[in-house]
Subunit: 192 residues, 2 copies
């Protein structure tokens, strides 16, 4: 394939993924049909299948893009008060979740089925977030329990956030965020 045509395919894929992010942000995987995706993109079903052989391929690409967005959005300046940076990161995380409530719930409840590739993306995203969090821990204190504490804390964040969404957010985001931040501080303190 000539370089130019290849570039066009990549660019077209990116555009379709951007559209997928939009459509899947308010509705679950099962609720969006291929017909609707093609119609929204203004292309035929046949052409959509040319870029993504199956609906699941398209969905996986969308999940991968959403994960990259989440990691990007929650990154904070590398200087400044650690607690303040943590709270900023958590604000971004909770904002992102509120904007993508449906796919967030579906993904973390495995509502889309046991798709190994999706599970791997979720796990790699947790790794990326852990890698960032561990930067805040002094190198000499980074024993095996610290990694367990960070993974545990992400489990706390996810479970608490799901419950918060279910409870129709009867709790202010700031209160949830502050609790999440205190728990991380305590977890690291107990682990080093």
């Amino acid at each position: 394939m000539p370089a130019r045509a290849r570039l066009d395919v990549d660019e077209r894929r990116r555009q379709l993924v951007a559209l997928g992010l939009e459509l899947f942000s308010s509705r679950a995987y099962d609720e969006v049909s291929i017909d609707e995706l093609a119609a929204a993109a203004g292309i035929s079903k046949g052409l959509l299948y040319h870029y993504f052989p199956t609906k699941r391929d398209f969905y996986v690409a969308t999940v991968r893009a959403a994960a990259a967005q989440l990691v990007e959005r929650t990154s904070t300046p590398s200087t400044g008060d650690p607690l303040e940076r943590l709270r900023m990161g958590l604000d971004e995380y909770l904002d992102y979740v509120m904007e993508h409530e449906k796919p967030y719930s579906a993904l973390l409840r495995s509502g889309v089925g046991a798709d190994e590739e999706v599970a791997r993306i979720v796990d790699e995203t947790r790794d990326a977030l852990c890698a960032r969090l561990v930067e805040g821990v002094p190198l000499e204190a980074q024993g095996p329990l610290v990694r367990i504490a960070l993974r545990g804390w992400l489990g706390f964040v996810e479970a608490a956030t799901l419950d918060w969404l279910d409870a129709k957010r009867r709790v202010k985001r700031e209160k949830l965020r502050d609790m999440l931040a205190s728990v991380l501080m305590k977890a690291i303190e107990s682990a080093v």
Copy 2:
């Protein structure tokens, strides 16, 4: 069906579930065949299907029994120092997980597929554990954030435990247990 025959069926089912608990405790769902289950029970495949129409029915019954065991085993005396009782309950929890490492990992990673009934059992088990934990919180302090904190903490326990198992338990059980206990105390303190 006469009452006596009915009783026999129930009793036979219980025996088969006990066998399932044993077989599934060391191996994942996919690794145990119906042939093997029938052979281990000393009955024909046809008879096994009489008690459980599908392998999944049998598996679901086993998961339900395992969940009940876990809730039972982690119950502690209703009097005494709360922190001490929490640590006792966590010791039992981690012991149980160590004895059922494979199904625990498979279940919580949704490795058995998106089985709604299994997912519901997992969720009801979390509810039962939360209900017990909330007893330790003064009634006037049981706002909506407390429930979120407890569900979040269970997410912490599960994610940390999975990571601890993956890390081939390079961390002593007691250190993990103490971290889990401190995190719960902090989570409740932040939530009330």
